[in-house]
Symmetry: C2
Subunit: 636 residues, 2 copies
């Protein structure tokens, strides 16, 4: 990916300069390093986060980390796991606090593999990414800071961004050129300031928060649960942590207070004294305080995420909000992931540069939803629910009241499964004005712009029971899932699908690897193209599927990604082929699902005999790829 | 654990000298190092197994490794997983091979958490243990060998074993004294030879085997499955391995051959040529051969595992058999585990030295079952099953024929769940002549001398869904599971149970920790005694259980090990309290299960009001503990 333009031999050239090695910068760096890009990554701290900061990994983020092969390194630290939230309020007759209800952190109506929030110190999470970066010869240089930059495609179309960097102790400085610059430096982003991008405050209310991590001795029974505690002496949120630690969030001041002072503070001792009053009649003593901080925070969202699609912002540089829902790190991960694969698609020659214009609208909409949720959640936190309401909420059965409905919507959002990208060139909604009638077949439960639905299947080559949605790793490729229904029914459709794929003017045929003849026969992910990985799923028992007979040669080449839909699922107990049924695809005729490299569904089509299926996919990819794709219908 | 007798100041003293750092030696060493013992561990190889050797971890062994916290380090190597076995035979009309059937490696009638065999190079497994040992300041010294030893309790009652060791290159030698000596040096055990313990050959037939690990290119469709292949040109067993490797076992000669020569050998090229003939019409080429070996092997079992209960043998030193079923490492692990906790119980002052006498009969019986199985399996391997038989076998439904019955019995055994220790002082069968009528309550499905049954429960303190059988780590303690049924029914029984436990003459009260006042309040495993960990499981939903109210203070102290039996289980779909139901315990009245430190059930009793339950457990523990336990009935 690296080329040195002859005219500037003395300046170092990078694909991207990334400023900030928090979750957003590390996720971006890790993806791009794996896909072969040359990265200059700096951070102005001399080491990874030593204490405090974000600590919540939501269920969907754990899926993502698993897809990257990083989940086990995270779980090796034995993080705390939050399955339920407990609500504590003053009793009706006053005095002390009582538990008024509990509810699931990720209720069973959400089809999550890991229905819990994982709590772990941010520094440990950062180190997992840093270790992975080092395997790909990328190092975070620290403490280095950015002192200036300019971006001019006319001056240098290939490396338009010039970036000035200096060591924090001012012993050295450096000017480099890059194709991209990413500002992931947090709420006080230098890059954002230099671009003169403003912040819009959705909710004018600001808060001062105290947060304390430590080890306590207490008889409070829910100290290992996530709790919101309202008392006559104030409110606390309890978050369990690894190593017997607990985090307490305490609201110290609000701009709604008559004497609000955003610089109001409190000592650790004052907060501990306050916590003791709030938790009474339960007792609490600190064995050890690991971290304590007081900080003002308001809801803000960056007006733009980029001006020229060369210099980008992400993470806290784009959105700030209260820490209560543990969304910061998760949103940062998804900002970075969204940008990473799009940069890759453009720089690898697959997608038009226009693709980068989808980053801001996709991610800014999510940030707006996050702030709207945060607003709602802050009100839930401030309003003391009546015991009746909470009891009803915890039953998870019968009629939902408005409160529960609101909560359910929030659960899906906070678990990460609610993230939805609106219709655009990548996500073709049922309303898309596509030519092909095969697009978005009736009955499908897959929603474009949403994650693919989870399903268990049996891998044919080794009879392993696997999670279908995890079978293709985060390799930067589009994931084409061929649900092949009943092999006796779809045989010809599969042959026609493969034949039309092989056409040089198809989305697949047009982007073959230059080194296609040198690919190892063990590579079942990208044997033909770096832009596509294929999975084929038959609605048949494993022992009835003979890959060499059931699949045309082209699809059979992906033999490690051929599956039997024979595992059953309690969510579709009557289905013969549960994965087909969960996706809402015909168990006889199947269908084709294109999933973006970040796991979100792009398009769903029928699987038909003739060229129709490939034609429909050509039409889809034509919306953003660099080559003209032909209709192949005339050839058949 | 270390004391230096004054009379021998110049000789180093150890709790145990372990010879051999294969699976059996490493498991023993790892357990004892964790429990605080001083170990001299040597191996005559200069490094861990570089290639080849054992590679199969059976389902139950994976449970054990998880219980030790070592599973994730094993799985980080991405081992192959065998879920199914495929059978290939010559077709009826002759010529080539066809798949005649498949069946599950660990069928669903076995309630396994991990229903697959894990395949990984032995050296990687050894290194996981070695890394754990190093955390406990124990190092395998290599290459060192044993040159002699003598054991004499009269001469030195505390450290009766004198061991002579020397460096393999003869640069140094050392004489040490130890309480125990363990010979885990494999089939050609020096320790066994010195003790003049003979080997009995169960099956007089000996075989010469070739084994080849490598990476292949092939169109054989089941190369990632475990396969037994019979052809007109010979037989092969295929075992998939990590990193796209495959292991082939090829029988080169048998003592049933007319011209049998135990020294018969074959070159790698000859074996490859043979494999090509056997696999035809499929093609196979080797990209790389990692390891190749030819070795003669017979079925043998050591006549004794110890003579004086100071010098012990385990692993391959005690039993040799064919490698085909992947049992060697698994049996070695369990030999070591069985011995480890018994040495700990004796040396920590809990159990009478007589306890050590249960090692040989428990483990030798298992070795005999293994050899009987191996014999049977060898015959299955040699006999070409008819297509009809195999087809029936793979259906897993309808009437079982004798062949399937045999296979099912074997599956339970080979998965590790079939290991059964017979009635003795530790395992009280229903026929035990116990005084207490509470022992072995009617209906229980738990079998003494067998593993506790798996069950999912919800941990009360943090609402985490957990595997009950994994909740107490391998800490050397007996595991007392108090199934407390309906809290409204068992309140008084629990109070009486706790009151009688607290009695100084109870099995629990008599063995309290010396440092009981200094134990951290975070320690929920051994707050009172190093010999007991307690779990309490209520047949109630989690949100109805208030630990401080539902449990007497003594049991409440184990607050991190209190559970709600509210998760449901598809094996007992009608049960309200699935864990109680799976154990066959009354969902209202509960029961108490004592599980040995190695996970095998020792005794099951009813949970009743009054002193009866503790009396029954006192009677049980009286069979092997060092203190006289009193009946407490008179006190109530």
């Amino acid at each position: 990916m690296e080329t040195q333009p002859a005219k500037q031999p003395s300046t170092k050239h990078y694909d991207i300069v990334i400023v900030g090695a928090g979750p957003v910068g590390l996720m971006l760096s890790t993806c791009l390093a794996r896909w072969g890009y040359k990265i200059k990554h700096i951070d102005n701290r001399s080491e990874p986060t030593p204490t405090g900061r974000a600590d919540g990994i939501q269920p969907r983020s754990l899926d993502l980390l698993r897809n990257m092969g990083l989940k086990s390194a995270i779980m090796a630290h034995k993080p705390a796991r939050v399955y339920e939230v407990a609500f504590w309020d003053p009793p009706k007759n006053g005095g002390g606090i009582v538990r008024t209800g509990t509810w699931a952190s990720c209720p069973s109506f959400i089809d999550a593999r890991y229905p819990f929030t994982t709590l772990l110190h941010q520094g440990l999470i950062e180190r997992v990414f840093i270790a992975d970066l080092e395997k790909n010869n990328t190092k975070v240089e620290r403490p280095w800071t950015i002192t200036g930059f300019k971006s001019d495609e006319k001056e240098n179309p290939e490396y338009p961004v010039e970036v000035h960097l200096k060591h924090v102790d001012e012993t050295s400085e450096e000017t480099v050129r890059a194709k991209y610059l990413f500002g992931g430096e947090g709420a006080r982003s230098f890059v954002r300031d230099q671009l003169k991008i403003g912040i819009t405050h959705k909710d004018p209310i600001a808060h001062v928060w105290g947060v304390m991590d430590g080890v306590v001795t207490t008889d409070f029974p829910d100290i290992k649960m996530k709790c919101t505690i309202h008392s006559d002496h104030g409110s606390i949120m309890v978050i369990p942590r690894e190593d017997n630690m607990v985090r307490l969030y305490i609201q110290i001041a609000s701009s709604t207070d008559p004497d609000f002072n955003p610089r109001k503070t409190a000592t650790a001792e004052e907060v501990q004294a306050s916590a003791k009053k709030i938790l009474a009649p339960y007792e609490i003593e600190w064995e050890r305080v690991e971290w304590y901080s007081v900080y003002p925070i308001g809801q803000g969202i960056s007006d733009k995420y980029t001006l020229d699609h060369r210099v980008f912002l992400g993470g806290d540089a784009c959105h700030t909000h209260s820490p209560k829902a543990g969304q910061g790190m998760n949103t940062a991960f998804l900002d970075a992931l969204n940008l990473a694969w799009k940069i890759h698609a453009v720089e690898a020659g697959f997608a038009n540069r226009e693709l980068l214009k989808t980053y801001e609208p996709e991610r800014k909409t999510v940030a707006e939803s996050l702030l709207a949720f945060d607003n709602k959640y802050a009100k839930l936190f401030s309003t003391k629910p009546s015991a009746d309401t909470v009891q009803a909420a915890s039953s998870e059965s019968g009629e939902d009241n408005d409160f529960i409905k609101t909560f359910k919507e929030s659960c899906e959002f906070t678990s990460g499964y609610g993230v939805a990208y609106g219709p655009n060139a990548l996500n073709w909604s049922p309303d898309h004005s596509a030519k092909s009638p095969l697009i978005h077949p009736q009955g499908t439960k897959l929603r474009t712009g949403r994650l693919m639905i989870n399903a268990n299947v049996t891998r044919v080559v080794d009879a392993n029971v696997v999670h279908l949605e995890q079978e293709i790793p985060l390799n930067g490729s589009f994931r084409v899932y061929v649900f092949a229904g009943n092999p006796a029914v779809t045989g010809q459709a599969l042959k026609d699908f493969a034949k039309n794929l092989a056409d040089k003017r198809s989305f697949f045929g047009a982007f073959q690897r230059a080194d296609i003849d040198k690919v190892s026969h063990h590579d079942s992910m990208n044997p033909h193209s770096l832009f596509f990985s294929f999975c084929t799923i038959f609605a048949a028992p494993r022992n009835k599927i003979e890959i060499s007979k059931a699949l045309p040669e082209l699809l059979g080449r992906y033999r490690d990604c051929v599956y039997a839909d024979d595992r059953g699922d309690r969510r579709v107990p009557d289905a013969k082929a549960a994965a087909h049924a969960k996706m809402g695809l015909d168990e006889e005729k199947g269908g084709v699902v294109v999933v973006r490299p970040d796991g979100y569904v792009g398009i769903v089509t029928s699987l038909v005999e003739g060229s129709g299926t490939v034609d429909a996919l050509n039409e889809y990819f034509s919306a953003f790829v660099t080559k003209k794709l032909g209709e192949t219908r005339s050839q058949l």
